[in-house]
Symmetry: D2
Subunit: 401 residues, 4 copies
Amino acid sequence: MDYYYGPGRNHLFVPGPVNIPEQVLRAMNRNNEDYRSPAIPAMTKSLLEDVKKIFKTTSGTPFLFPTTGTGAWESALTNTLSPGDRTVSFLIGQFSLLWIDQQQRLGFNVDVVESDWGQGANLEILASKLAEDTTHTIKAVCIVHNETATGVTNNLATVRKILDHYQHPALLLVDGVSSICALDFRMDEWGVDVALTGSQKALSLPTGLGIVCASPKALEASKTAKSVRVFFDWKDYLKFYNMGSYWPYTPSIQLLYGLRAALDLIFEEGLDNVIARHTRLAKATRLAVEAWGLKNCTQKDEWFSDTVTAVVVPPYIESSEVVKRAWKRYNLSLGLGLNKVAGKVFRIGHLGNLNELQLLGCLAGVEMILKDVGYPVQLGSGVAAASAYLQNSMPMIPSRI
Amino acid sequence: MDYYYGPGRNHLFVPGPVNIPEQVLRAMNRNNEDYRSPAIPAMTKSLLEDVKKIFKTTSGTPFLFPTTGTGAWESALTNTLSPGDRTVSFLIGQFSLLWIDQQQRLGFNVDVVESDWGQGANLEILASKLAEDTTHTIKAVCIVHNETATGVTNNLATVRKILDHYQHPALLLVDGVSSICALDFRMDEWGVDVALTGSQKALSLPTGLGIVCASPKALEASKTAKSVRVFFDWKDYLKFYNMGSYWPYTPSIQLLYGLRAALDLIFEEGLDNVIARHTRLAKATRLAVEAWGLKNCTQKDEWFSDTVTAVVVPPYIESSEVVKRAWKRYNLSLGLGLNKVAGKVFRIGHLGNLNELQLLGCLAGVEMILKDVGYPVQLGSGVAAASAYLQNSMPMIPSRI
Amino acid sequence: MDYYYGPGRNHLFVPGPVNIPEQVLRAMNRNNEDYRSPAIPAMTKSLLEDVKKIFKTTSGTPFLFPTTGTGAWESALTNTLSPGDRTVSFLIGQFSLLWIDQQQRLGFNVDVVESDWGQGANLEILASKLAEDTTHTIKAVCIVHNETATGVTNNLATVRKILDHYQHPALLLVDGVSSICALDFRMDEWGVDVALTGSQKALSLPTGLGIVCASPKALEASKTAKSVRVFFDWKDYLKFYNMGSYWPYTPSIQLLYGLRAALDLIFEEGLDNVIARHTRLAKATRLAVEAWGLKNCTQKDEWFSDTVTAVVVPPYIESSEVVKRAWKRYNLSLGLGLNKVAGKVFRIGHLGNLNELQLLGCLAGVEMILKDVGYPVQLGSGVAAASAYLQNSMPMIPSRI
Amino acid sequence: MDYYYGPGRNHLFVPGPVNIPEQVLRAMNRNNEDYRSPAIPAMTKSLLEDVKKIFKTTSGTPFLFPTTGTGAWESALTNTLSPGDRTVSFLIGQFSLLWIDQQQRLGFNVDVVESDWGQGANLEILASKLAEDTTHTIKAVCIVHNETATGVTNNLATVRKILDHYQHPALLLVDGVSSICALDFRMDEWGVDVALTGSQKALSLPTGLGIVCASPKALEASKTAKSVRVFFDWKDYLKFYNMGSYWPYTPSIQLLYGLRAALDLIFEEGLDNVIARHTRLAKATRLAVEAWGLKNCTQKDEWFSDTVTAVVVPPYIESSEVVKRAWKRYNLSLGLGLNKVAGKVFRIGHLGNLNELQLLGCLAGVEMILKDVGYPVQLGSGVAAASAYLQNSMPMIPSRI
């Protein structure tokens, strides 16, 4: 039944779905259960409480939708907005593009702020739009925290500052799919109204949970938002939260136990340690790219993503060939370039439950592949740069000494 | 982390989620994979081809949504209908009620045909409505094949006959959540336009796949249907089907391999043998209920469900007490009575990958619980009636002799 | 690759290997590890400490051999005895026969005390042999606590009393393979010198650990015992225990984690509750056998085994036909009659991590099979008798009310 | 319950137990079964047939003992030799030492031929001993194919040539624990009489199977060999082979299914491809060691092991510190130096189901650790040397292009 992959483990370095820790696989290795027995609501209660921690919120209300990130987007939008509402949305890569497409198809009036792919959201334009919008026609600012297609991280703290500066009441809706649990994310501090992620990203679970967290202001907005919704409606969840049974329809028992195990692992390592680890692995990756003489798709340091690095290949190389060879020859899974950067970049995902040697194995593989496809890389150069940094930056926490 | 359940296996007899076979658990015990590698599209292609067999369709187009049955409902409706469209919908229990509620919230003009809970859809009223509808204002007939709350199975062949009799072009949308893969279901023969099920029912998988199958007529309707939809839009899937990459967003790798294993098991047993097994186990259950002197919630034999039996308890017993004791004392999971029949019925789910002795263990448990709660049942009576039938009706297929 | 077993779960009622709880399967679902890292010795230390509890010993020294019960026998004998040493050994069934055969092949002078199969050890003969043995030529009394072939449990307290009465220094070696963790077993109180069991019995693990526990007197004897041994030598283990690395050769990482989970489950239920559960399930089984009008192979109540019941079939039935049909028709695994009782008995194993409804499902299956093979059983009669008892004897512990 | 290991996967590079492929973990994720049902003998039959292929024998008889390599040694010796028999045995490292110790404790007259640790067996001395032994007092030549402690592979073809040259009838007993399934091994061609391995080595399974294969000459010898044995006796197995039930005592169901999956993987890759892969990964490892300026413990190229490389550290470094840091800081498991080479070498195991990038990740880790402990290694140097070789030697088989 299985495709033949060759010997040894697959090296999974796409920016999602990511590697699942053994502890999580074990927790999920179980039969179904009646979700109406006392056990599942008790566990759900603990999950909802703990999920708030990864959003860094105490006032938010989380929802665990049996869906993907795309569904989580839809939940965020339809619960807070009405058809025709004006949103400001930043187009900086494939995933922000898809979200904008969704916003348009859901009937919103999307004010698209476009940047070159490789740049972050143009916040000056945001400022000017807010400044002009004295009648508050803008109902929501929609921004992807980390654009997975280009490896660009937007500065949410600045977005909040601009909104506050203009005392603008627009909701702040954030796609944190490839950021939450990996990058610093502060829902309450940054005044994010809806934040969302997917289980298969930094949480290191299988696909299947779209995790959405709503601020009190967003919940309030949901009472009057006229977008048509049923499956993604927060109202049904809130009703079952109040009843203490939590689920308006059948959840995945396995993903609930998996989420429990994933959160336990994250809290055991410490959420801030998890984020610091992502910072280190990402820095190491960028140093390798530099050592290879290649360019990062991200155009300025301030936008560097700590979860995915998009590497620009020279014009005489087709980046999809890199990805194809990685898989076939080395059992290494890299991300393709998408849409505008198709053929021009390949992507290394370095998010989720990963460690130094896994990353170095990946980088060693990329070096061989680059040589395979005709790029004159010096083998070992990227690994040397990355490992020099990794060794020196190794945290001196007790369990690692 | 786990709730304490006492020794031994849980006896899972709710009508979903149901027991997962070991073969399926094994297939799902795996790390994530890049869903854009050649392996996953190749497997998806085989799954889409094979999934059609469980709908008994050759002309239908299946979609594997990462969602639940509720989401599958929404997909069926929003892809084929426009706001304000008139549907005829049968209210015969909690799940048909929820679907009707969804239809109303999605903005359709729902013509509700209500029956007593315990009865099937009133097809005479359907006939009269169709007869009157000479201008074809009815755009869809929505019917739950098997109402899980009351154990009532509707006769879809008759629905088709009536539609044909009046040469009415309304679409026929069928909730097959607790029927497909367990009851006889013939999408093509019965002219079903959209049929849907969920992975956690007769397919015996975890929750997480909403499987929707669309007839050519439904696909055609989707081109003009104006309901707002993005996540549940067939169009995006069809685009990716054409590209050969199949997935507009990240699927659950584990559920795909699980579905492969589940289908393999069903085809190994033979779909018709699977259905015949459900018939036998259901008949045995009803004989036990009769032997206990209790009534089936289903009011006529023609509506008896072969996937779930709702048992009416005497007025002096609270049925939720039966369910509670089953779980706490005997590690047996039974279904609660819902809504109108809350407190009055408990439900035995006998669908999915089950065999005779599992069912008899359940029935023996129910007998003890009934006695526990004060009903004067004769212990062993239900088991005797059920096993006498099971023994005599045992199929003489080679692997079972 | 797999044999086709038909739908649903296998009902495993052989007296070993027994059903593995999901919690244990999960714990074992893991990659290998370096057994010389700090983690494995730390876990081993906790296991050795906790394993003593299931033997009810504080003074004993446990050994976890990567072997089966047969290997554990060999370890018990060769570490404590020298070639030519006289043992008194009771032949009461197939497993005591095999142990005696081993004793003879290992070069001991075995004084066999035979009983009819279905009777317990003849302790009067033991008394007379000890009385005569004023020069202490008897070096060890070897006794199977629970003869798995006939469902006979010997009274070890009485054996100890007799040894004490004659102040005889013979070692008391006990095969507890199908008793420990299921029957009341008191190593220290009964002065057992070597007790042993296998992981696939009441511990509910896979086969692979032969667990041997030695009294201080047995350890002392091992210093002078001249039987040739290397793999099974306690000395090598003791050396590594002292070094704190615990393992003279590579253990199964998976079984260690599995044992940890199995012990945790037993302690969570409470060892005495586990034993009481075995008593209840066994009593229920015997009541069913009585209701069927069949005889227990065990000839007196005092010898009834609470882990396995050997059921005598009428002369016109071949018991292996019962076992064969159970497997092929009902996915039920029963134990064959062995050697002298081949064809005459079939065995129901009711040990390990089991609950009431699992047993009742099995009994319902046996009834159908008995009818299949021509025995005029009244269907439901055994289930009725068993469930009446089970219901009344249900313990009122908080988690079960 | 689990020790905390930090994030990401453990990098397991001890020379056993080795990484278990996901396919094998999946196959083993199952409940127990009755080993006396028709399914298990049918599978056992296929396993015994297929196991012969990994020994490259058609005339040999394999035995699957529920034991470890140490037990397999004991089985090889006790079934073919009698107490007092003279063996010629080569002492070249810790594992040959342990085997010699076992031979002595089992009562054989061991003629030890010692070499410096780091050298292979001294075959000139073997020749002279055989030449002198005109009365054939030497009953067996015992040799470790691959000494795991020093990374030394002995030349078995030469051993056979020498035996043939002197027409000496001594049995040739070979410990293939860290060679079979990884190094070229030809039981029939080299006239090996007993060969053995353990499941946790190149077969990439958990510990628990000691696999022994006996030539017809060895089987013949077993009929008269007087060494005491029961658990390890081939006779009992042969009796059950003839009966078609195969097992004298309970096997591990999980390991049987695991072995089935492991063999399937090996045959899918092709045994010769598996061996060639080990050759490549080992060569790459040695090139890295050379690039680091360190010495291989193995003193001549002809003895280089393709399954384990023992790396000599400079005198001012304690090699156990390398191993300790590897585990604590980098989640990398390396092998300690044992006995005579304790503190002087650390070992990289590169056997089993591994691929290029896994090895390169390990090598990158070793570089960092060497620097951590004060050795002036140039980071990236070993990875560069290894990856240059690996890239160029990549086989052009269809699945890898």
